[in-house]
Amino acid sequence: MAQIELPSYLEQSEAVRARFDRLKSREVILEVDQLGKVFDSPQGPVMALRDISFKTHRREFVCVIGPSGCGKSTLIRTLAGLESPSSGRVLLDGREVTEPGPDRGMVFQGYTLFPWLTVKRNVMFGLQMSGHAQSVAEGEAMDWIELVGLGRFAESYPHQLSGGMKQRVAIARALANQPRILLMDEPFGALDAQTRGKMQANLLEIWRNIDITILFITHDLDEAIYLADRILVLKANPGEVNELIEVPVPRPRSAEQFIGPEFLATKKRLEELIHPPSDDDDSDALNMVRMTRVGDSVENGLEEIE
C-alpha cells in the first residue's frame, strides 16, 4: 500500500483559519489560571492537577483528552465547583468560581437523573430551583425535551429509558438552566458505538443552534476530533497541559471526514501525544508468561486447519 503523505495538523485551510480568528475575537467565557489540585489520601498527598491554564471563548467547543487517571474528572469537577482548587483560580465571565451553580451545567459519565422524577420533572428541576413558576418551568422543560427528541417520553421514569436516552435527558436538564458553559465528563463513554455516533451528531446539532460553550471530556480520539474546535491534551502524574490543538477539520462536520487528511493528521498527532513512542520504558507492557500447556499451541492448531 502506498504511503499517503499527511499534511501537518498545524496546516489550516483559509476557511478554518478565518473561523479560528473569529472565535478568538469573541469574549472569554471560562478562564482557568494556573489551576492545581492536591488530594489528601491515606498514602499521602496526591497531586492530581498542576499548573493548568487555558481559556474558552464564547460558543467554542473544547475537548479534553488524556490518559486514564490524568485528572480529567478532577479538572471538570473543579470547574463545576464540586472540588475547590488547591492553587490557582477558575474564572467564569471574569468572576471567580467558588461553589457549584446553575451557570455551569454538568453532564456526568454515570447516570444521574433523579429516579423518582419523570423525564419532564427532571428537566424542570433546575428551573424550579431558581424559582420559576410551575407552568413556565413545564413549558420550557417540554421545549428542551423536544429539542433532544424525547417528547414521547416526557412522562416516563428514567429506569424506562435506554442509556442514550438518559444522557439526552441529562443534556436537556443541564441546558434548561441556560448555563454559560456546559461541562460534560465522558457523557457517552458507556454507550455502544452506534448510539454514541448518533449522540455526537445530536450534540453538534444542539450546539450549533443555541448559544452555548461546551467543555467535553473524552478518551476517544475520534470523538474529540469530530466534536472539538480545540483539544486540550493532558498528560498524567501530575495532570498538566501537554498541548492545546486547533482542529483543522472544517465545519460542519460529518462522518465522512473521519478518513480525510486533516482528520488523520490530527489523530496522528494526538496519538503521539497520548502514547509517546517509548524506547526504554516498557512499564505499560504486561509481564506475561505463556499459560497454555505445551502441545496446546493455539496458532499451530489454526494453521493446521488451513
Partner: protein
C-alpha cells in the same frame, strides 16, 4: 436449552410456580410436623390419658399420667387380678393438636371473660395494637428526622451517633422499672419500652440508608442550582424514600418483638395478659391461638405495607424481581 428448574442457581429467581409452591410448603411443613406429633399415636406421646380408672384408686377419668407410671399400675392391677385401668397415649397438656387450636381461634373470641373486670380477647388484641402503634409512631416522629439529619450532615452524625451507638446496646426491658417509676403503671411505660427498643436502632438505620444515597445525585442537584434545604427536601428525602419505607417495615417488625416484654411491665395487659391468664387456666389451645394470631397480624400488616409500597414508589419496581 433444557426446561428443568435450576433449584440451586445462585442469586436467581425461581419460576413463579415453583416459588409459590415453596411459599405454601414453608407453612405446610411446620404444620405437618405438628400434625404428625399430634395425630400419630406412636410418635412421641409421652403420657397416657386415663379413660377408665379400673381398680387404681388415685386414677381419675381424663387424667394424664406418665407412661411408665401407667404401665406399672396396670401391671400391679393385673398381678393382683383386680380390674386393670384403661388409657390411650396422649401428649402433654401444653401441646394441643392443630384442630384444637383451630377451634380455639373461634372460641377464644366468643368465650366470656371469667371475671367482669377482665377483657375479651378482641379488646386485649386491640390494646396491644394501640401500644405498638403509639410506641412506633412516637419513635418514628423523632427517629426518622434525626436519622435523616445524621445521614445528611456530618455535624448531626458526629453529635448523636456515638452516644446512640452506645445506648442501643442497653436492653430495652432493663428500663422497665424506671419507666414505671416515671410514667406510672398503665400504658405509659409500655409505650416507652417499645420506643426505647425501636428508637436507637431506627436513628442508626435511617442514617445509614440516607448515607447510601448516590452522592452524584446530590452533586447533580448542586450543579442545577439547588441550595441547602432544597438539597434536603428535593433530593435527599425523595431519594431515600423507598428505602426508608423498607426500613420502617423492618423496624415495625422489631417493635412487635418488644410487645410481650412491654406488656408485662406495670399491670399486665393486652395479648400478653390474655396469654398468661390462659396459661394459668391451662387452656394451652388458647395460648397457641393467641401466639399464632400475633404472627398473622404481623405478617398481614407487612404484606399490606409491601403492596402499598409498590403503589407509592412506581419508579422502584424494576429493582424487585
Amino acid at each position: 436449552m433444557s426446561n428443568t428448574v435450576q433449584w440451586f442457581a445462585v442469586r436467581r429467581a425461581l419460576p413463579q410456580r415453583q416459588a409459590t409452591v415453596l411459599t405454601v410448603f414453608s407453612f405446610l411443613l411446620p404444620l405437618l410436623v405438628w400434625a404428625l406429633v399430634s395425630y400419630v399415636p406412636f410418635l412421641w406421646h409421652p403420657k397416657v390419658e386415663v379413660t377408665q380408672p379400673g381398680s387404681v384408686t388415685w386414677f381419675k377419668e381424663g387424667m394424664l399420667v406418665e407412661r411408665p407410671v401407667f404401665a406399672e399400675q396396670r401391671q400391679l392391677a393385673l398381678e393382683s387380678e383386680a380390674e386393670p385401668p384403661e388409657g390411650k397415649r396422649a401428649n402433654p397438656v401444653y401441646l394441643p393438636a392443630p384442630h384444637e387450636v383451630a377451634v380455639a381461634f373461634y372460641t377464644a373470641f366468643t368465650t366470656e371473660p371469667k371475671r367482669k373486670s377482665e377483657k375479651w380477647l378482641h379488646e386485649s388484641l386491640w390494646h396491644s395494637i394501640t401500644i405498638i402503634f403509639w410506641g412506633f409512631v412516637l419513635s418514628s416522629l423523632v427517629g426518622v428526622p434525626l436519622g435523616i439529619l445524621c445521614g445528611t450532615y456530618a455535624l448531626f452524625s458526629r453529635l448523636n451517633e456515638p452516644f446512640i451507638e452506645f445506648f442501643r446496646y442497653l436492653p430495652a426491658p432493663a428500663f422497665g422499672a424506671l419507666a414505671v417509676a416515671v410514667l406510672g403503671i398503665h400504658d405509659g411505660p409500655k409505650i416507652a419500652i417499645i420506643f426505647i427498643g425501636t428508637f436507637f436502632q431506627q436513628v442508626l438505620i435511617v442514617a445509614n440508608t440516607t448515607r447510601k444515597l448516590d452522592v452524584s445525585l446530590v452533586e447533580a442537584a448542586l450543579t442545577l442550582g439547588a441550595k441547602r434545604l432544597q438539597l434536603l427536601y428535593r433530593v435527599v428525602i425523595p431519594g431515600i424514600l423507598p428505602d426508608l419505607y423498607r426500613d420502617q417495615r423492618i423496624l415495625l417488625g422489631w417493635a412487635w418483638t418488644y410487645l410481650i416484654v412491654a406488656e408485662l411491665i406495670g399491670t399486665s395487659s393486652g395479648i400478653t395478659w390474655f396469654i398468661t391468664q390462659q396459661a394459668r387456666y391451662k387452656n394451652f389451645d388458647n395460648v397457641f391461638a393467641a401466639i399464632i394470631m400475633i404472627g398473622i397480624i404481623g405478617l398481614v400488616c407487612d404484606l399490606l405495607l409491601a403492596k402499598l409500597g409498590k403503589r407509592l414508589f412506581p419508579w422502584e419496581q424494576h429493582k424487585e424481581q
